[in-house]
Amino acid sequence: MLKPDVRGFFDPVTATWSYVVWSEGAADKKCAVIDSVLDYDMASGRTATGSADKLVAFVKQKGLQAEWILETHIHADHLTASRYLKEKLGGKTAISRHILEVLKTWQSVFHNEKDTPLDGQQFDYLFKDDETFSVGALEARIIHTPGHTPADTTYIIGDAVFVGDAMFLPDVGTGRCDFPGGSAADSYASTRKLLALPDDYRMYVGHDYPQKSNRGPLCLATIAEQKSANILANQGVGRDIFIKNRIEADKDKDVPLLLLPSLQVNLRAGSFGSSVEGVQYIKIPVDKI
């Protein structure tokens, strides 16, 4: 099996890991970008591309060609830079077909159907569960790993497993399940799916929150390490205990600062949508969240 090279980029503001995935061993220079970040300041409504430009510079410096711009899920804590990256690097934007359920859920809150089509056509491609695809010579497939959101998807490229927020590093645990459509029971089933992968596969996480452990941000744990050490979801944790602990941990949790802009922009595949006299807006629904 061809094993991918992975370059991670950590955004300290939202604690997000973004990835560029390619293979030095392949003749082609194709790459995939996973879970990019567009910087956004809530108070001023101003965007910036510092985080995304690091990715762009890396891809260009390496002479790579973006084939895919992937999202593991509709992020609720940061805005995707997929649209900006597509302009700069090319490539197809893609996400799981389960996003259609998420589009429907939020329609009743945002009523953005005019510039946020409910059929998902704003993305270049929608993956079916267990679909296989390729990144250049690298073999890839997706598996459905819901729980954090109903559309969470894991991309398995060679021996690298990009789990988004389905699991975090062993000392952090797993993704919260209190967003609309989230489910601790689904999350448990997803963690079992992931732990069933080969022990030496590399699991790359979508965020890292290292403050508690007095360490710097890291992006990877092997499946074997997750099995033995994940504080919430190791091999020995039963379903009922996981669900109880997850619900307990999610009680009274703060809403992510960027929840409202993130959802609206990410559901549009990175676009701020239609404009009035050239001005684009973010809606703030009152008493709806």
Binding site: D5, G8, D165, R176, G216, P217, C219, L220
Partner: protein, 204 residues
């Protein structure tokens, strides 16, 4: 490509934050006492596994690696580890953090024991104390018990000369493994761009 390059400490100011990594390979206690103020990683030499280190930080094979210790010796040992593991872009910061401080690279002021409340003795002083103590013990035992103990003083003396000439100190390497030199942090911590003061409402 083989071998690492050595850069003057003043060039630390030119190392970019993005797409390069500075690794401080001193002991946790030394690192806690005094460290670079710019983003960098900390991984003690005896715990350093280059491939594992790079993979877990999402760094690819070609990311430039800059190694830092107190005076440059341990950084060279770390550089050899990286070269042996197949990394092509490896650099040693000449003169270590001592030289950095001397040429205006921003370094936190040495604060002995501020964090733990205990007095931290630098590795170099630990070496002097240990070597001196061994010479004294060797001489006393040699005088009172058996002249064979003079060998101990002889060995330590020869070791110090060797260390002075080659800038390789076996005793320092042994001392870095002592428990009191590891007390500060569990394993490896890093100071590279830790998340903001309070990243509000994450996904965990």
């Amino acid at each position: 490509m083989s071998g690492y390059t050595v850069i003057p400490a003043a060039d630390v100011k030119k190392i970019p934050d993005a797409n390069a990594v500075i690794v401080d390979v001193r002991t946790p206690l030394e690192h806690q006492t005094q460290r670079l103020l710019r983003p960098h990683e900390h991984m003690p030499l005896d715990l350093l596994n280059p491939k594992d280190f790079m993979l877990r930080r999402g760094l690819d094979r070609e990311t430039p690696v800059y190694l830092l210790c107190r005076g440059g010796t341990r950084a060279r040992a770390a550089a050899e580890k990286f070269i042996a593991a197949g990394y092509p872009n490896v650099h040693v910061i000449e003169g270590g953090i001592v030289a950095c401080e001397g040429c205006g690279v921003e370094v936190s002021s040495a604060q002995a024991g501020a964090a733990t409340g205990t007095k931290i003795i630098s590795l170099e002083r630990q070496v002097r104390i240990a070597a001196g103590a061994l010479v004294v013990v060797g001489s006393i035992l040699g005088y009172f018990l058996s002249p064979a103990f003079y060998l101990l003083s002889l060995l330590v003396g020869a070791g110090l000369v060797y260390a002075g000439i080659t800038d390789r100190c076996g005793m320092a390497l042994v001392l870095t493994k002592a428990p009191w030199n590891k007390a500060a942090a569990a394993g490896a911590c890093s100071i590279i761009a830790a998340p903001g003061p309070k990243s509000p409402g994450g996904c965990a």
